[in-house]
Symmetry: C2
Subunit: 305 residues, 2 copies
């Protein structure tokens, strides 16, 4: 039931101060999801002992190089490491063309299939779904077409209270209980109320990744009460004009979004090269939203393990 976010790259634009360009790895129920893939992401994954061929779904927010220049290298290494499984890539129009062109010139025939899912919507939609979770795109406002991503676990099964379970209770009925159903006889008469034999399910977690974007309140309804919010904070608020001009946000603005969204926790990131010491950014955010932390490369943010 893992729900763990690992920051692989935390810097904006160019690598600096031992910080790399944007990439994150999300482990949800032991499935690995890669979010953005700046140059050197495969080196970061190797550094943190992540088996790259465990990643089956990659989400690219937009086509600025600091968010995707590591993708071709990662794909190549997946191939060299013997990947056979298909790889899903969700990203903006153009990404498929960029990948295809480079594969063509290198005369590479990958041993696995890439399923490109081009994101074109200007509105939120479910773009990925499996048995236990969904991913939605979060339309953002940047200089080029850009989406964040909302990862949401579905409601988990109710827990059976084994102490109260009658003997010889059938497996079929246990499945019903886990789904939250009552146990009824042929005529529809309730034999056991669900609540009498079950406990509430484990919490379902959610994570919203919002980079790159200017301050944008339109995202609030979609990320309402999210457990974990990553919001870019390229600048501090004394550079608000620069933030507006470049369609980025300040740490102050990230904290306002976290507050208005009633998020449980805020992670900062996408730091400008100009900030070597990040403490002032953290302080600026915490003044508004106390449960803000700095996204730091290699560190895990664990919601469930």
């Amino acid at each position: 039931m893992t729900f763990i976010l690992k920051i692989l790259g935390s810097n904006s634009a160019a690598p600096a101060h031992n910080r790399h360009q944007t990439s994150q790895l999300l482990n949800i129920q032991n499935q690995l999801f890669l979010v953005d893939c700046g140059e050197g992401t495969q080196l970061q994954l190797a550094k943190y002992h992540v088996k790259i061929n465990r990643i089956n779904n990659i989400f690219i927010s937009h086509l600025h190089g600091d968010h995707f220049f590591g993708l071709m290298g990662l794909i190549s290494t997946m191939h060299l490491f013997g990947r056979k499984k298909k790889l899903n890539i969700f990203g903006p129009p153009g990404l498929a063309e960029i990948i295809t062109l480079q594969l063509r010139y290198s005369e590479s025939n990958l041993n696995f299939k890439i399923n490109m899912h081009e994101l074109q919507n200007a509105t939120p939609a479910v773009i990925f779904e499996n048995e236990f979770m969904t991913v939605e795109n979060i339309p953002l406002s940047h200089r080029v077409f850009c989406n964040g991503f909302l990862f949401k676990e579905k409601p988990k099964p109710r827990k059976i209270n084994k102490d109260l379970l009658p003997e010889n209770f059938s497996l079929k009925n246990i499945v019903k209980l886990k789904k939250g159903e009552d146990i009824v006889d042929d005529k529809g008469k309730v034999l056991y109320k669900n609540e009498a034999l079950t406990l509430p399910p484990k919490k379902s977690h959610s994570y919203a990744y919002c980079s790159d974007t200017k301050y944008r309140e339109e995202i609030l309804p979609q990320i309402k009460q999210v457990d974990l919010l990553y919001h870019e904070s390229t600048f501090m608020n004394d550079m608000l004009d620069r933030a507006k001009q470049t369609f980025h946000s300040t740490a102050h603005q990230a904290a306002i979004i976290a507050t208005k969204a009633q998020a449980s926790q805020l992670i900062l990131g996408h730091y400008s090269v100009r900030y070597k010491d990040l403490t002032p950014l953290l302080q600026e955010a915490q003044a508004i939203f106390p449960n803000a932390v700095l996204g730091k490369e290699g560190e895990d943010i664990v919601l469930a393990k």
Copy 2:
């Protein structure tokens, strides 16, 4: 009068064992030339404190990702660091298209001009020349169109023997002496033989970069008596079949090329991921060509400083 080679990346295909993909930096008379640019080259350049905007000429051998996936990131960071000077890129057809496509989708307007020099020749030619050196392409045999590069200093000026120089000797005549000319009067009569007032010039150095290629004796006339030869040695000779199949060379073959070319020194590189310990490759090469060394990242090979 520097002539220094720095290995930035020494591995083939994928990064492994703390080795990066191919890239080299050549400092000739304080001008910096970048040869190939695998993913993470800009990180390596930063690690070794190289100011990236001192690089004005980049040479790309071929369009396999381990030789150029770091190029877009380097170009972006040059832009972010305020580059205004034009950048020359020498590489195979297709590279310009790959760069242009990615700049278009990122809606980036670089503050500097890229001069793309597409290499199409199947024969050696001078592709770059300045006042003190030339660069020639070295046609190689790989799975895709591939060139090595031969860097050659031009003959240097003869050195004035100040002890023997007559008083009030004109600057104009000194320039003539440096060029190797005699000093003659109006009627053509020799007043001073050049050798009487000068000493031989400093040595002019040469460096041949040969990666990626199968064993190819056709390169020998061009690289004859080169001072420094880098020749790829992806495999050891027990994997000769694999080398042939993939159009790569073994350490043994690299040493034979060095011997037949009468090179002064051989540098090995482009190591397969399968070799963690490189000593056996070095031993295999040294058995044929004693002055072979392993190319190691961060190390300088200094011909003149």
